[in-house]
Every structure is written in structure tokens, then in C-alpha cells.
Amino acid sequence: MWRNLHFLLSALVILTTNATSPCTEPDAVKLALEIDSLIDAKLKSQNITKASLTDDAEFVRRLYLDLHGVIPTYEETVRFLADKNPERRTKLISELLADKRYGEYLGDIWQGYLISPLADDRRKRADMLRKWLAEKFNQKSWNQIVTELVTATGKIEQNPAVIYLVEGRNLRTVQDLTDLASRYFLGVRLSCAQCHDHPFVAWKQQEFWGMAAFFSQIQTPGKSKVVYQVGVRDNQEITLESLKDGTTDGFMSIQPTFLGGEAPGSDSSIPNRVALAKWMTSEKNPYFAKAMVNRTWWRLFGRGIVNPVDDMHPANAPSHPELLDFLANRFVESGFDHKFITKAMVLSEAYQRTSKPGNDPEKQVAIFGRMPVKVLAGGQLYDSLVTILGEPVRKGGPQSDARSEFIQFFTDDGDPNVTAYRRGIPHLLRQMNSEQFARNISSLSLVTAGQGRSADEVAGELFLKVLSRKPSAVELNIFRDSVTRSCSLEASTRELAWALLMTSEFSLNH
């Protein structure tokens, strides 16, 4: 069995590897085994059966969507499904992580987190920030990326990292930036504490404003548009006190203080944000590593080890505390290597389990005995449509505008629970009846149905193209019937293409 072979090979590799070697292939494999042993232990103790592994078709589609944000092409699917090498999954994982598309997908995601939804010129700036992030994710470790973001200075055109600091004509408020940094970089939600001590958790109002103080030096109170002329810079003279305007809820003008009460060093020549970045990315920081590990896990597994993903606190316990601590330590030891941690996670059996429900399906998902079904995000949907159909008909303007508009239309607001389908009638109407990709569907059908092919060959190709799998015998029958009734292979092909694109299966990452 594949699984036994994998185990044997991994065991062999571990035995022949020096325990203190740097982050290389074997470490990720070892870490994957360790992940599995922790998860399996809990499954066993709760008497929950493990779901079986995905078949190759489920696996290839899921992996491409999770690592590259897009379905595999027809060629990529066929190649993988034909591969008999017992190590094919591991090989594919390595290939996908090394591909530049890995960074591009993460850049897309993080640009969405970082840019204020109300910022002017959002589209143009989003593209600039996305490219910058893509490059960094492909080359740098997480602590380096966050340091560059937190300490970013200069003008937008010269340093795209400052984009998220600006909203409209002004710098983003210290409250906003504190909320953003704490949620995304530290995995904690401080914003309730802006106005009062958090009712359910330990965060105090003082802690919120202590953190907010770190963002005060970039502000330009009373002057808008200055940031365009001179860029973002740290002005030692601006403190929270300078920003007091009598209208901000809960405002407290205090000195910068790290979460947990420590004060930054007394060297006033070091800008606040530099001190903040240093504290955040330190190996001893109790939040930083866990936040990224949990968020990466959440993206891949559809639920975090802590849920909600950005709300870690003592009253919100992780489902697997030992696993979280353990992964966080490994992440730190690796030098905050996000590719390494991702690789270990997708190598694990837990990641490769099917999403088909077994006994006690809810419980199975909750403790990672089964993968939940995830919903394709707006960007994944668009990029997958382009993969299958080519670029849509343009109505003037650059392609990136069409992509942005589509994503904004199809993207959910609110807490992004990746397993909840939240689109409504307007979205389904557009998917069914929009002209945007209609011509592409016609061309595709024309080509696919051409030159004396049989109904089975046509169906085979369309299923592989759209759903990344071969059709079942039943599905082949359904299509053959449809061709017989319509008497036109081309017409039926077009209908099949339309139908496949409208299936739940296409819109979901199972």
C-alpha cells in the first residue's frame, strides 16, 4: 500500500539523517510524521475513525488549489494521474513549492488582508503590493517579510511595502494598524479593547493603546496628502499625545508597550516600529510563530488548530495544544521558513485524507480525522476559469481590472470561514448567464468536439479539464444519451461544458 511504502521510505530517510542538519527535505518528512502521530493519538483517544486517503484525482486538484490558488491544467492533471512513481505526491509537493506561483498566490491572499477596503486607488495599489509580496514569499522567510512590512518607509512608488499604511490621503489610523498587526501577525484580536477592557478575554484597554503607540511616529496629524510628497517616515516627535483629537473612542495617550507589559529599550534613536518588529519576530515572542502556524494550518485544513484563526487567547483553547506548540517551535527553529512548515503540513496523512464523510463526520473534521470541504475563493474561481477557458472577452481596460472586478463581486465579506458557501442569487445568475466567458466556452466546445471524436473521448477530456478527474461510467452514459438526443456532438459538448462549470464540485475544494 502507498501508505506503508511512504512510511518505510520516510523511516529510512530519518535513520540516515543527521539530527542537527539544516532545513532540508528529510526534516519536513519527519515533521509530517510527528504531526500525524499527534493527530492520530487524539483520534484514537476519542474513538474517531480516520477517513481514508484521497485518491490521486482529489489530491492533485486539492494541492494545486491550496498551494497555487488555481486548479491544475489539463496537462498537469493527466501527467500526475499517469505517474506510477510511489513518490509522486512528495515530488509534486516539492515542485509546487518551488514554483513562483507559490509566492504569487500568497501575495494575492496577503494583499487582501493588508489593504484597507476603503483605500482610494485600491486596484492599482493592490497590484503593486501583490507583486512585492509575491517576490518576498518566494525568497524570504516570514520574519523578514513582517519586519519589512512593519518598518516600511518611503514613497509608494519606491517601496510598495508602505501601501498598506496609507488610506486615502492620510496615514491609516493607529487603531486600524494596531488591529491589523495584532490580528494578522500575532493572531490576537485587540480591537474590542480599544474602548474598554475586553468583556470575555484578558485584553486591557491599556494594552491596546500601548501597542497603538508604536504606530504613532508615522502619523501626520492635521496634514493630509503629505505622505504622497515625502513618503512614510518615522518622526520621533509624534506621540499618541500629539494625536489626541477628542473624537476617538477610548483614546489613551501612553508610552509604547509590548503586549505582556514589557517596554521597549530606552534608546530613543530607534524608531518605535523598528523596536516593534524586533519584538514581534524574536524567537521568544509567544504570539508570532503560533499565529503564522495556525493561519497556515487554517488555510490548508479549512479550520485552524485555534478557531477563529486570529483570536488566540487563554479562553479559546487549541484543539491540539501540543501540536500547536510543537509546530511553532519547529517554525522558529527553521528560521521562520514558511515553505518548510507548509511542506510538512501537506506531506502529512492528515492533510491527504478525503473529505467524504464517514461515521461521526462533524467530529471527524473537528479533530482532523477528515478534511472538510472548502469553497473556492473569488480569486481561485477566476484563475481556474481562465485556466480552463483562457482570458475572457475584454471590455476595455487591462485584464487585471476584469480580474479585480470579478473577485470583488464574488468575494465574501465577513468572517471568511473557508468551508461556508456564502454566495447568493446574483452570483449564480452571473455564473450561469454572463457573457464574460461565453465565447470561450463556445470555442472550447468547438475544439473539443472536433474531428470525428467519440462522445466518450469528448467527455473524458472535458471532465479532466474542468473537474481534474476522469468521468465515471454513469457520467459517460449521461453524456452519450445527451448526444443521441441532440444529434449534435458540438451542441452537447457546449451544454456539458456549461453544466460542469456550474456543478458544486467545480465551485468546491473537496
Binding site: 463526520p361 450561469m432 451544454e495 456550474m502 473537496h510
Partner: protein
């Protein structure tokens, strides 16, 4: 969810001699006499209309404040408004002018979000639902194919979201009311569409059997609803070409009776499509949609930092015609009692108008409520002699939205428990004291 709409009936007993043709008539004929749940039509004046130049004129102030417009008497003694709302002046007994509005945001996006949701946008983890989504959720039906929240015109996307209320309460957007509902017609023939849907249904079955996921079920349900809407009779409510020319003309201001030419700048304003949007709103409310938002002013709209007087005048005249036709039409069809019309922007504009423009002003401004069973013919709140601050009866955004909820029969204190958020969230932010405008009830 309001049980009334489960029976898909529409009240007809208060119609005064207007023949109801076609499907509307059939449904009306079968309806028992029942009190109809309320609906709301929000007329969103994007850009922030000047309160002094519309509903809170200051004829006795100095010339650099009162501006260029004169005032007109209304059908209610003692209430005067801008001369450029002549038709609406005659309908004042149905309306209440809220001159005491005083809110906290002066930036367009932030203020728009603030006025639609009652909360301030902190870019945080909670996305609050728009008032339209709230009404859709509380008063709408899940049984009928019609959506419960419709926006007409270029709606402010971040401010009309259903947020944590989810897809059931999402708005269906109609960009151009003259063109109708986007994507409602299949690309090919009905025959081809039916075959495609049939094929789809056959293909879906094995996936759902194998994966049995909630998200799959949600997708399939939404798809079914979309197809039902496409095949429904009720979708005709989105087709204003079914109205007579006479009715359609009533919603246009005289100067704009000519059809727009290609290349006309700002076609929304020129073609009178705001008025046609109001007409569609009336049809939708008749068809049972609980909340329709009609947007006036795409792009710059009422945001008159420059050319305040010529632009405000033309916008006022267009708005006057549309709004008055709407109120009149609703009244003629016996719908005014149960339909609340809300006229509002995101803030007012500064009293100082030397230089021909007025800037943003959130400290004191005006909104208008019409119909919905309110006690009309009154003014609530008063500003100082320059229209610069509220001297009597300050109305916050939460006072305002809570009052609207109350008029519509919604408990504004009711709490939602959105997933992923620990604390229950009331429909209207109750963290500060709320004073309902009981004078209206």
C-alpha cells in the same frame, strides 16, 4: 422571517380604482384582506446633499450662508423647503423632515458605511450588515424566488453588504433600471437552458451523495433559487417597460423628457434613470420585496465642493420629480401606509458657501422620512440660524436607524450571534443611549 409572505399574497383591498392587470391582478384578486408587512425604499443621495439648499433652508441668514435658492411654502403651515422641490412641497403631510441629524464621519466611504450599518468601520474582523440586509433578514421570505434586498443604480458596495447575515440577505443589484436585471436571461434559447439545467441536475447527484457537505447543499439551493427566479412570473417586477409611458413620464423631470444620447456625460443624471429606478422600486415593493435601495448620484453626485448651486438645483429638480411620483404612486395604490420611504445622504454640507461650493458637514444635517404609517407633516430637530449646529433634538445615526426599525416593526435590540464572533451583536449599536423619535409613531 415574516410568515405573511409564505402565502404569497398581496393586499388589494385598499386599491382605489386602479385596474391591476396581468399577474399582479390575479394575485390581488385571490388575496384575503390581511395587514401587509412593511417595506422600505431607501433613496440614497450619494455625495452628501447640502441641507441648507434642500430641506433646512436659512432665508434669514447672511448671503454667504443662505446661498442662491429661495424657499417655497409647503402644504403644511410653517414648513418651508427649497424652491426646487415644488412637487414634494405638496406632499409634506406624509413626510417628516429630520433636521437634527448629527453624526461622526466626514469621509465619504466611512460615512456611507456608518449611515448604512450604524456602526463605524474599523477594518476589523466584524463586517456589519447594511440596513437593507437587516430588513431582508427580518421581514423577508425564504420561500419566494424574489430576493429580499435589491439595490438599483451604482450602490456603494462595502456599505450594502449583508456582512455576517450571509447570502440570504445579500442584495441583488440592478445597475441600470432601464436595462433591467443583469444576467436574468439565459444566453441561448430557453430550450437550450432547460437542457443544460437538466444535464446539470443529473451530474450533481453522485457528488452530493458522496460528499454530503453543507457547502454543497448551500450551492445547490442557491442555484435552484436562481433558476426559479429566471423562470418566475415575479421577475417581471424588474421590467419597467411594462408600465405605460404616462406612468414612466411622471417619474421624469420635465427638462429630461428626451432620451439620452450616446456619449452624454453622466448618463444617470441626464436620462432620469434615478426616476426610473424609483418606479422599479415601487414595482418591487408591490411584488413583496421588503427593501429596495435606489441610488442617486454615481461618481460626484451631490458632492458639490464646486458649482454647488447649479448642480444642486438640477439634482433637486430631478429628485423632486422622482420622489414625488413615487410617493403619489404608492398612495394611489394603497401602499404608502406600509411603505417607508427614506431620503438620505452620508452627511450635509457646510453653511459657508462663498466660492460657490459647500464642503462636508456632519455636525448638523437633514434626512426625510415619508409614509410607512408615520405621523407626517412635522419637523424634528432644529439647527441654529446658520444651519451649523443642532440646537434642539440631536439625532444620532443609531437614533435614526433604531427609529426606522421600529417603524418597520423590527426589534432593533435583537441580537445576532454571527459565527466566528464571540459576542452577540444587536441590530442597532446599543452601546450608547438611543432615543427613538417617538414623535413619528
Amino acid at each position: 422571517m415574516n410568515p405573511f409572505w409564505n402565502r404569497r399574497n398581496f393586499v388589494a383591498n385598499t386599491m382605489t380604482g386602479i385596474p391591476l392587470t396581468g399577474w399582479l391582478g390575479r394575485l390581488a384578486a385571490n388575496a384575503p384582506s390581511q395587514s401587509r408587512p412593511k417595506s422600505c425604499i431607501l433613496l440614497w443621495m450619494a455625495g452628501g446633499p447640502s441641507h441648507i439648499d434642500t430641506f433646512d433652508p436659512k432665508p434669514d441668514a447672511s448671503s454667504d450662508i443662505r446661498g442662491e435658492f429661495k424657499t417655497t411654502q409647503t402644504s403644511v403651515n410653517g414648513i418651508r423647503i427649497s424652491e426646487h422641490f415644488p412637487k414634494f412641497a405638496n406632499l409634506m403631510k406624509h413626510a417628516a423632515i429630520l433636521r437634527g441629524m448629527s453624526t461622526q464621519e466626514s469621509d465619504h466611504s466611512l460615512a456611507t458605511y456608518h449611515m448604512h450599518t450604524g456602526y463605524q468601520n474599523r477594518g476589523g474582523s466584524v463586517v456589519y450588515p447594511s440596513i437593507g440586509a437587516i430588513v431582508a433578514r427580518e421581514l423577508g421570505s425564504q420561500e419566494v424566488p424574489m430576493p429580499n434586498f435589491v439595490t438599483i443604480g451604482r450602490a456603494p458596495q462595502e456599505a450594502v453588504s449583508s456582512g455576517f447575515l450571509g447570502p440570504i440577505a445579500q442584495p441583488l443589484g440592478v445597475t441600470d433600471p432601464v436595462r433591467g436585471l443583469d444576467y436574468i436571461k439565459p444566453l441561448d434559447s430557453q430550450e437550450v437552458f432547460n437542457r443544460q439545467v437538466n444535464l446539470l441536475q443529473q451530474l450533481e447527484a453522485p457528488f452530493h451523495k458522496a460528499y454530503k457537505s453543507e457547502s454543497g447543499i448551500a450551492h445547490r439551493t442557491m442555484l435552484d433559487r436562481a433558476v426559479k427566479l429566471m423562470n418566475s412570473e415575479q421577475k417581471q417586477a424588474f421590467d419597467i417597460s411594462r408600465e405605460t409611458d404616462q406612468v414612466r413620464d411622471a417619474y421624469r423631470v420635465n427638462a429630461l423628457k428626451d432620451p439620452p444620447k450616446r456619449g452624454d456625460k453622466n448618463p444617470m443624471a441626464l436620462s432620469g434613470s434615478f426616476g426610473q429606478g424609483c418606479l422599479m422600486a415601487r414595482r418591487l415593493v408591490e411584488a413583496g420585496v421588503p427593501f429596495v435601495e435606489v441610488v442617486m448620484g454615481d461618481g460626484v453626485g451631490w458632492d458639490t465642493h464646486r458649482d454647488n448651486f447649479p448642480r444642486t438645483k438640477s439634482l433637486s429638480l430631478e429628485c423632486d420629480a422622482a420622489m414625488s411620483a413615487l410617493v403619489q404612486d404608492l398612495q394611489n395604490r394603497g401602499l404608502l401606509e406600509t411603505t417607508l420611504v427614506v431620503w438620505m445622504g452620508e452627511f450635509g454640507r457646510s453653511p459657508q458657501c462663498g466660492g460657490g461650493g459647500r464642503n462636508h458637514w456632519s455636525k448638523s444635517w437633514s434626512t426625510v422620512l415619508v409614509g410607512g404609517g408615520i405621523r407626517g407633516g412635522q419637523v424634528i430637530g432644529k439647527t441654529d440660524k446658520d444651519g451649523a449646529s443642532v440646537v434642539d433634538r440631536q439625532i444620532s445615526v443609531t437614533d435614526f436607524l433604531a427609529t426606522i426599525c421600529t417603524i418597520l416593526g423590527i426589534d432593533y435590540k435583537k441580537k445576532n450571534l454571527p459565527s466566528g464572533v464571540e459576542r452577540p451583536i444587536p441590530i442597532v449599536d446599543t452601546s450608547k443611549e438611543i432615543r427613538i423619535l417617538s414623535e413619528l409613531l
